[in-house]
Amino acid sequence: MTANALPRSLLDSPILGQWISFDRPGRIAIYSGKVELGQGIATALSQIVAEELDVALGRIDAQATDTDRSPNEGFTAGSQSVEMSGAALRLAAAQARDALLKTAAVQLDAAISGLTCQDGTILLHGTATDLDFWSLARLVDWQQPVTGQIAVKSIASHRLVGTSQPRSDMRIKLSRGGFIQDMVLDGMVHARVVRQPFRLACLAHVDADWLARRYPDVATLRTQDFLALLGDDEYRVHCAHAEADSFVAWQKVDGLWQPPLAPDVQHAVLGIITTPVPSARRISARYSRAHIAHASIGPSCALALYDGGRLTIWSHSQGVFALRDTIAKCLSLEPAAVRVIHMAGAGCYGHNGADDAALDAAIIAMARQGRPVRVQWSRQDELSRAPLGAAMSAEIDAAVDTDGRIAAWKFSVLSPPHAQRPGTGGYINLTSAEALDATRLPSKIADLPDAAGGGASRNAAAIYDLAHQDISIRLDTHSPVRTSSLRSLGAHLNVFAIESAMDELADLADADPLDFRLRHLADRRCRTVLIGAAEMSKWPGRQQAGTGRAMGLAVARYKNKGAWLAAVADVSVDEVVSVERLWLCVDAGLLVNPAGARNQIEGGAIQATSWTLKEGIELENGHVPMMDWQSYPILTFAEVPEIETRFIVDPSHPPLGAGEAAQGPVAAAIGNAASRALGVRLRDLPLTRDRLLGLLTGA
């Protein structure tokens, strides 16, 4: 029996009973610190546990993450959930099964080798006994630590892991509504927050008379620059909020809020610096993307109740423990006096408005003791007032030598931070905290450290075999806009830049973009997905430029330590760029739920297509404008490409998160195809009609 290395989650939360319980007869409750974001993690974790316990998948109840009960596994981010929580639950379930069987052996006075279990019942030499997991569970010490000493099932014996399973949470969500937006607490008051139009905006005037005449049933709650509207009838509160411009005046301030600190520069040189080969065949190019909105279909929502000295919050946050601690700090409460319970929201792709809405509800609940409060954001606030994915740029100076090999590679990124989550850097980082007290704005801006996957630096290192890479990451601390983690963070633009440059260099070397990549690529699994995508798409080799239709390819390994993904895009360009088809070849190791993995990959690819073709926020005088789906359009049913996905699966490779792997390669494959089709290199995202016209007319 070999010991399994303990994942970080088990070092932090070693107690077996924290992960699994058999309290309800016939049911098995599992507790994870990773939350359901619409990515299907509850189903995948249930499969892993049902596998180890030899029970039907339908017996597993994945419990909502609750700061009073669940293990703390940090944020549900970075495509880590199956790797971290799945590994922890697998070991916990294996140990639970072992402890239950050992207890059965004592009860039956039999050797453990004669015992097996089948869907929760205990068999002795293949014959049923009257013992089952639930009767035995009372005799097991659930305070024992998970040691990792118990062998887990071999991959060859898996019957559930590796099979496609429908989402356990979907039927209830479809027929009855299972979202936080659907939650009702007795006597709850409906609230909307009138958000500051920009940071440091001062609430100059609230015309209470106007409001009382038009909306006598809507009350206000004001503290400093925080203003909430409250009422029993949600639609009335909604209408009053939509008319806020009629009775709320904000004081204009000169200039923009500027974070005070000078930028940090992070500089890394990988490999040995060689003197760059003098060459006429070099590129010096700048690639960029604009700010991107999370744009969830369900605007943020939260419920809260302050009762008996305890504040309970229901939130669709990605990190309920950090949210608990941050809200406690903001409201001067002990963390133990705050409880945050996760409730599913609409699709979440990063640090969106969920945490902000939770603080909104908490502030109001503290002022309305004993009364449950429900805060619902508007569509416009969801698009415009939640944190944004950071606008960034990357410059590449590179050259190819006479042998057609890359001889110089300099990569420089400039980006605002990709991580300003609750508690990051010791700051509250919640928008209403700033409205309550302007001194709560961060005084130092930092990005996610490389040890945590990096923010702007994510995938800044090219996966190719280059003699040296000179990489510098400059943190733009002068953005007045609140930027934070959005699906794949800096990897989206970095991979777009690297893979665009690879095509440009291939042209300089008179090479096929596929051959050019392969000649610089030793990573075996990377080569496999690249060749796979080329085969799937019947890659045509070098194509004539400027014909209006072309294929483009790109490849990357997410974070350079996660899943490999190669994409080929078939794109046509007339007045707009249209993606006709995408071929994706992926190596994400063992797939726990292949249907779920396919959803994650293809969903990521469509979202990346939307970002690439349509999404980018133009600031107005440094402020984020108010947007709706007309001013911030996303990809529609009529615009989505046909997608074909192939997984390279070697079950001996451990599972790697799949949710973010497509973002960079799909953007770059589209950019390469569109540039080829147009005969003009497109380096700035999004590739909108206006951008194309601007390029073609030289504007």
């Binding site: 009855r176 279909i297 699709g347 959803n599 789906w629």
Partner: protein, 164 residues
């Protein structure tokens, strides 16, 4: 200022006291506690709130309750009690269609309206019927396959003479 409005909802008559201009969405969710119809924008831009009114999809987020007087309204809660609804639910499950699920009830109601009037829609017809809906998770492919699958199964059942 409330007015009584009578209409058929999910197979049964209902009378609602609500302000005349209150959208059906709020009446369904807050007066009748029917939570499957979702708020997404309130602007007829995303389709999360779509219900079926007299056989056609309608945005519940702007449609006043008073406008459905005497009409037949069907919401996603009805899917499990209708043969086309059941075929849709089974097909969505079989295709693992959808990701977060927030937009799905509205999408399924547009598909429901479509399949009620057209048992053999082609891909282009399905795309056109769903194009009023936004899905941010990028689950479009599975959703389109699921509606095609439901149509095929309903068509096959119809060919055998089973009740539609």
């Amino acid at each position: 200022m409330t007015t009584a409005t009578s209409f058929h909802l999910n197979g049964a008559p209902v009378t609602l006291d609500a302000p005349e201009n209150e959208p059906l969405l709020y009446a369904l969710r807050n007066r009748l506690q029917l939570k499957a119809t979702h708020f997404g924008c309130g602007l007829e831009q995303c389709g999360a709130c779509v219900v079926d009114v007299d056989g056609a999809p309608a945005y519940a987020c702007t449609l006043p309750v008073s406008a459905v007087a005497g009409k037949v309204v069907t919401t996603a809660e009805m899917l499990a009690r209708d043969s086309i609804g059941l075929a849709l639910m089974a097909a969505f499950e079989a295709e693992c269609a959808g990701q977060c699920g927030y937009c799905l009830s509205g999408i399924m109601m547009s598909a429901f309206s479509l399949l009620k009037r057209d048992r053999h829609p082609d891909r282009a017809t399905i795309v056109a019927a769903l194009d009023r809906h936004l899905c941010r998770c990028g689950a479009h492919g599975g959703i389109l396959r699921a509606v095609e699958r439901a149509a095929a199964e309903i068509g096959a059942a119809g060919a055998l003479g089973a009740p539609g």
